[in-house]
C-alpha cells in the first residue's frame, strides 16, 4: 500500500472511530486513540491472512472495529450498532461473531496467555503463523501477564509478538503514581525476551520494528504513545472514561478536516 493512501485511510478511520463513539455516547476514547496507529499499521502493513491477533486491552474495541471496517470485514451498518442494544459489537469485543476475533477480551491480563497458546499451536503445527497481541501498560499489573511471559520465553515462542501501548495513564492515575512503573522496558527485558521500543504514532517506525523479529525469542514491542492522541483531552485522565460532548465532537472533526486540507 502506498504511504499516502495508508495515511488517508488512517485519517478516515480516526474520523469513523470518533463518529462511532459519539453516536453511542461511549468513552474509552483515550486508549483507542493511543493504539489506533499501531492497530492500523499491524493489520494493513504487517499481518498476513493466516496470522492471528488478540486485543488483550479489550477497552479499545472501537479502534479494532474501525480497523476491521477499513479492511472490509465490518460495514457502516455494523458500526452504527456499536455499544447499542442488539449489537454484536459490544464495548469490549466478543470472541464469537466478529470476523477475525478469536476470544472475548476486556478483563485485563488474559491476552498474553491466549496468544502463547496460539503460538504454541502454530509451532506444533508448523503453520508459520505469526501471533500478535496488543496489551495496555496498566494491564501488566496483572500477574497473569508475567506468567505468560515466562512461559513464552521458556518455550521459545519466537512467532509471538506482544505489543504494549505504553501511554502512561490508567483508570485512576498514572502508571508511575499507581504502581511506580512508568516504563515497563527494564522489567520485561529481564525476562529474556526481544524487546524493542518505538514512538507509537508513526506507522513506518512501528512497521519496521514489527518486521524486525527475533529468530529465537518472543518479541515485545513497547509503543511510546499519548493517550487520546489528537483529541482535546490528549494526555489527560479524562480521556480514559469520558465520551465526547456535541461541541467537543464537532471541534475535533473540524480540526482533523482542516489538517487534511493543509
Amino acid at each position: 500500500m502506498m504511504k499516502n493512501t495508508f495515511n488517508k485511510q488512517l485519517e478516515s478511520v480516526k474520523l469513523r472511530l470518533l463518529k462511532m463513539h459519539y453516536n453511542s455516547n461511549c468513552g474509552h476514547l483515550g486508549g483507542n486513540f493511543s493504539c489506533i496507529d499501531a492497530l492500523m499499521t499491524l493489520h494493513h502493513l504487517v499481518m498476513r491472512p493466516a496470522d492471528r491477533f488478540i486485543l488483550s486491552k479489550g477497552h479499545s474495541a472501537g479502534a479494532l472495529y474501525v480497523t476491521l471496517w477499513s479492511l472490509g470485514k465490518l460495514n457502516d451498518l455494523d458500526l452504527d450498532t456499536f455499544s447499542k442494544d442488539n449489537t454484536f459489537l459490544p464495548g469490549h469485543p466478543c470472541g464469537t461473531g466478529i470476523p477475525g476475533l478469536l476470544f472475548s477480551t476486556g478483563s485485563l491480563g488474559h491476552g498474553p496467555s491466549l496468544a502463547a497458546g496460539l503460538a504454541l499451536a502454530a509451532k506444533y503445527q508448523k503453520s508459520g503463523r505469526q501471533i500478535y497481541c496488543l496489551c495496555s501498560d496498566g494491564e501488566w499489573q496483572e500477574g497473569s501477564c508475567w506468567e505468560a511471559l515466562a512461559f513464552s520465553v521458556h518455550h521459545k515462542l519466537n512467532n509471538l509478538t506482544i505489543i504494549i501501548d505504553q501511554n502512561g495513564l490508567q483508570g485512576f492515575g498514572s502508571t508511575e503514581e499507581v504502581i511506580s512503573c512508568g516504563d515497563l522496558t527494564p522489567r520485561i527485558s529481564s525476562f529474556g525476551v526481544h524487546v524493542q521500543c518505538v514512538y507509537g504514532h508513526n506507522s513506518s517506525g512501528i512497521k519496521k520494528l514489527l518486521e524486525n523479529k527475533s529468530s529465537e525469542k518472543p518479541n515485545i514491542l513497547i509503543l511510546d504513545t499519548v493517550k487520546g492522541k489528537g483529541l482535546h483531552f490528549e494526555g489527560k485522565m479524562e480521556s480514559h472514561y469520558l465520551p465526547l460532548s456535541e461541541e467537543q465532537y464537532h471541534t475535533v472533526i473540524s480540526k482533523i478536516n482542516e489538517d487534511r486540507e493543509l
Partner: protein, 297 residues
C-alpha cells in the same frame, strides 16, 4: 483413580490433536502420558491462570486439551480464565481436578474442593465425577465441550460386579426408597448397605453427572411415596441434593422423607484425613447407616 485416568488418556487420547497440560503436578502418575504425548505434554509450571489461557489458545486452533492440577488449583484459581477464555468460546478443554471433596485430607482446607461442581455447573461446564475406575474410559469418549473431571478414589467393595456405565445407575437394589451418591461415595454407600437386608435398605444409585442430563424414570418410580437419601462430598449449595430436589418439585414427585448428607466445611475448626472430614459430615459408613436407620424409626 489417577492411574486409571492416565492409562485411559494414553490408550484413548494419544492422538495428534490432543494436548496435555499440567500445573506442575502428577509426579508418579502422569509419567506415562508425558512419554506417550512427547511435545504435546507440557508442564506449564506453577501458573494456573496462564495454563488455562494457553489451553484456550490451543483449543481455538483445534486441539482437545487436558489441563491438570489439584482440584482447587484447577477450577478456583483460574476461574475467570475458565469463564472468559474457555466457556465463552465453548472450547474443548477438559479441566482435570485431582482430589475432589476432602480427598487431600491432611493437606488442609486450601487443597479441598467442596464447591467445585456447583461453580463449574454454573458456568455451563460439563461436570463429570467418576464413581469407579471403569467410568473413566466412557467419560473421555466425548470431550467436545468445556468439561471438568473430578477425580477421587474408587471405593467399590471388593469382588462386586460393575453395572454398565450410565451417568445415573443403580449399583445395589433395595426396597426402602433410594440413596443417591455423587461419584466415589457410591462405593462407600455400597459397602455400608450391601449386608443390610434388601427390605430394610434403599437401593443405591451412583451419579456421575447431575446437571443437564435426565434422571431416569426407573429412579423416580423407586422413590415415589418413599424415602430418598442423598449423599455428596460437596456443599449443599448447587450440589446433587439441590438438583434432585428441584427436579422432584418440577415433576410433582412426593416422598415420605428426604435426607441429605453433604460437606459441611470445617464445623469444629479441626482438620484431618478425608475419613475424618467425611465422618464429621455423616458421609462415612457409620454415618450412612445411621442416616438409613434414623429414618427407619
Amino acid at each position: 483413580m489417577r492411574n486409571a485416568f492416565a492409562t485411559t488418556v494414553v490408550s484413548q487420547c494419544n492422538k495428534d490433536d490432543y494436548f496435555f497440560l499440567t500445573g506442575d503436578l502428577g509426579f508418579m502418575a502422569l509419567e506415562e502420558i508425558e512419554v506417550a504425548f512427547g511435545d504435546r505434554f507440557v508442564n506449564a509450571g506453577v501458573a494456573e491462570q496462564n495454563m488455562i489461557g494457553v489451553a484456550a489458545g490451543l483449543a481455538r486452533e483445534g486441539f482437545t486439551v487436558f489441563a491438570y492440577s489439584i482440584a482447587p488449583f484447577c477450577y478456583a484459581r483460574p476461574f475467570e480464565q475458565i469463564r472468559n477464555d474457555i466457556c465463552l468460546g465453548e472450547l474443548s478443554v477438559c479441566l482435570v481436578g485431582n482430589g475432589g471433596g476432602y480427598a487431600y485430607g491432611h493437606m488442609g482446607p486450601t487443597h479441598h474442593a467442596l464447591e467445585d461442581c456447583a461453580v463449574m455447573n454454573a458456568l455451563g461446564v460439563r461436570v463429570l465425577v467418576p464413581a469407579f475406575d471403569e467410568d473413566i474410559p466412557a467419560m473421555l469418549g466425548d470431550l467436545t465441550s468445556p468439561t471438568y473431571l473430578r477425580l477421587g478414589y474408587d471405593e467399590r467393595p471388593k469382588n462386586t460386579e460393575m453395572p454398565e456405565y450410565a451417568s445415573w445407575r443403580q449399583v445395589l437394589s433395595g426396597e426402602l426408597g433410594a440413596l443417591v451418591a455423587l461419584g466415589p461415595l457410591a462405593g462407600v454407600a455400597w459397602q455400608a448397605l450391601m449386608n443390610v437386608p434388601v427390605c430394610e435398605r434403599p437401593s443405591v444409585w451412583a451419579v456421575t453427572e447431575f446437571y443437564g442430563n435426565e434422571i431416569p424414570e426407573e429412579f423416580w418410580a423407586q422413590v415415589e411415596g418413599k424415602k430418598l437419601f442423598v449423599i455428596e462430598e460437596h456443599v449443599a449449595s448447587g450440589g446433587l441434593g439441590m438438583h434432585v430436589a428441584l427436579a422432584m418439585a418440577g415433576l410433582g414427585i412426593h416422598l415420605s422423607n428426604f435426607s441429605h448428607h453433604h460437606a459441611l466445611g470445617y464445623p469444629t475448626g479441626r482438620f484431618g484425613s478425608q475419613a475424618f472430614h467425611r465422618a464429621q459430615c455423616g458421609l462415612d459408613v457409620d454415618g450412612i447407616i445411621a442416616m438409613i436407620l434414623g429414618n427407619n424409626k
